[in-house]
């Protein structure tokens, strides 16, 4: 019972310290504190903490307000990007640029089957078993690639042998951990033979990677 009385007064100590205690309770609380050493000691401790100098940076009110979107815009959150996020964005941009450059390198060829064969091989395999390993098995068979992936809609390459090797090189790269040393040397050799001539026929570039060819 006595503890409850103390607890009731202790509840009000922060309000007393902050000057927000209702006047109707003020005299009652002060009277209790004058008679109760324990509660008085607690009030003293709370006051010390309340009056301690907590450093907090002053806020730039107008700067913060300027970031608030107009009503109705919704959950737009134009937050300042901190340094770590900036670094991530930088790396993500670099990675995307590298990927685009790689794709562009493949597409630079004048629409030869080397490119379309690769894309079509992926498309063909994705219909049944969408794994890279499937591509690697399909790719070394030039006839089947030509039949399923290219011949149906496109003429064969003007340079026999080259597309097949390119396909094999790219396809094998997907399972490169299974390659022998000689295969790796062959792969590097094949990559070096890739012809990166600019395309003279931009329409053909658009055919790459639609993913619809094999379905």
């Amino acid at each position: 019972m006595t503890e409850n009385i103390h607890a009731g007064f202790r509840d009000l100590i922060p309000d007393l310290v902050n000057g927000t205690l209702e006047r109707s309770r003020l005299a009652e609380v002060e009277s209790h504190l004058s008679a109760c050493a324990s509660c008085r000691e607690e009030a003293s401790a709370v006051r010390k903490v309340a009056e301690s100098a907590i450093f907090a940076p002053r806020m730039d009110t107008s700067g913060i307000a300027s970031a608030i979107p107009p009503y109705g815009i919704g959950s737009v959150v134009p937050l300042r990007v901190n340094s770590s996020r900036r670094r991530f964005v930088g790396w993500a941009t670099l990675a995307a640029a590298a990927a685009i450059a790689f794709i562009a390198l493949l597409r630079v060829d004048d629409g030869s089957p080397s490119v379309r064969s690769t894309a079509n091989s992926v498309a063909v395999s994705s219909g049944s078993n969408p794994t890279i390993g499937t591509v690697a098995r399909v790719a070394p068979q030039p006839e089947s690639v030509g039949a399923e992936g290219v011949a149906a809609s496109e003429p064969a390459s003007q340079r026999p042998g080259y597309p097949v090797r390119a396909v094999r090189a790219i396809a094998l790269a997907a399972g490169s951990n299974e390659l022998s040393s000689s295969d790796l040397r062959q792969l590097m050799s094949d990559i070096e033979t890739l012809d990166a001539r600019p395309s003279a026929d931009p329409d053909r570039v658009g055919e790459l990677g639609t993913g619809e060819e094999g379905r």
Partner: protein
């Protein structure tokens, strides 16, 4: 005579009026609201142990609050609502830091911790004892104590900010006050 409750109601009413004006296209009303509550948010973040980019945190809090203003029903004060949002953001930050470093502990119901930051927050040497006393609290006790003593929130408001119960807030406060009293006891 104006009671504390009445003054809170008046302030809330004014906040609601400013919110209404902002919704009508008066952006200056938003600036007024920021001016009214930004420093309190800054103090809470600092006392809770935030040490990095407090202004960014406060701005983030306001942007999120205003972006979701229709979910504010006026059942609590606008400041309480802002503190709730800010606390969630602090927890998000802390979890992100934990993922980054994999060393920072999130203790006691994911309360905000990282109180070592007070090394630079409480500046005066004479207040070392206060700092030590606050450091002795659990993260949850520290938040409750800060909200009660330095923000002047009621237990009901603290419960709203912490998304807990009024009874739990009261227990945490009393335990914190007991520790503070013992730590600051004059020998």
């Amino acid at each position: 005579m104006t009671s504390a409750t009445e003054s809170v109601d008046q302030e809330q009413e004014t906040d609601l009026a400013l919110i209404g004006r902002w919704k009508s296209g008066n952006h200056r009303a938003a600036t007024q609201l920021v001016g009214r509550h930004a420093d309190a948010l800054s103090r809470f973040a600092a006392a809770a142990g935030e040490r990095e980019e407090i202004e960014e945190l406060v701005q983030d809090t306001f942007v999120r609050a205003f972006s979701a203003i229709d979910s504010f029903r006026g059942e609590s004060s606008f400041r309480t609502w802002l503190l709730t949002i800010e606390r969630r953001l602090m927890l998000d930050r802390q979890r992100a830091r934990k993922r980054e470093r994999n060393t920072v502990e999130i203790g006691e119901g994911d309360a905000v911790s990282g109180f070592g930051a007070l090394d630079s927050i409480i500046a005066q040497e004479t207040q070392d004892r206060v700092r030590s006393a606050l450091e002795a609290l659990s993260p949850m006790q520290r938040e409750v104590f800060t909200l009660r003593v330095q923000q002047g929130l009621s237990y009901r408001e603290i419960a709203a900010v912490l998304e807990s119960t009024e009874g739990a807030a009261r227990v945490h406060y009393h335990n914190a006050a007991q520790t503070i009293k013992e730590m600051l006891r004059d020998d």
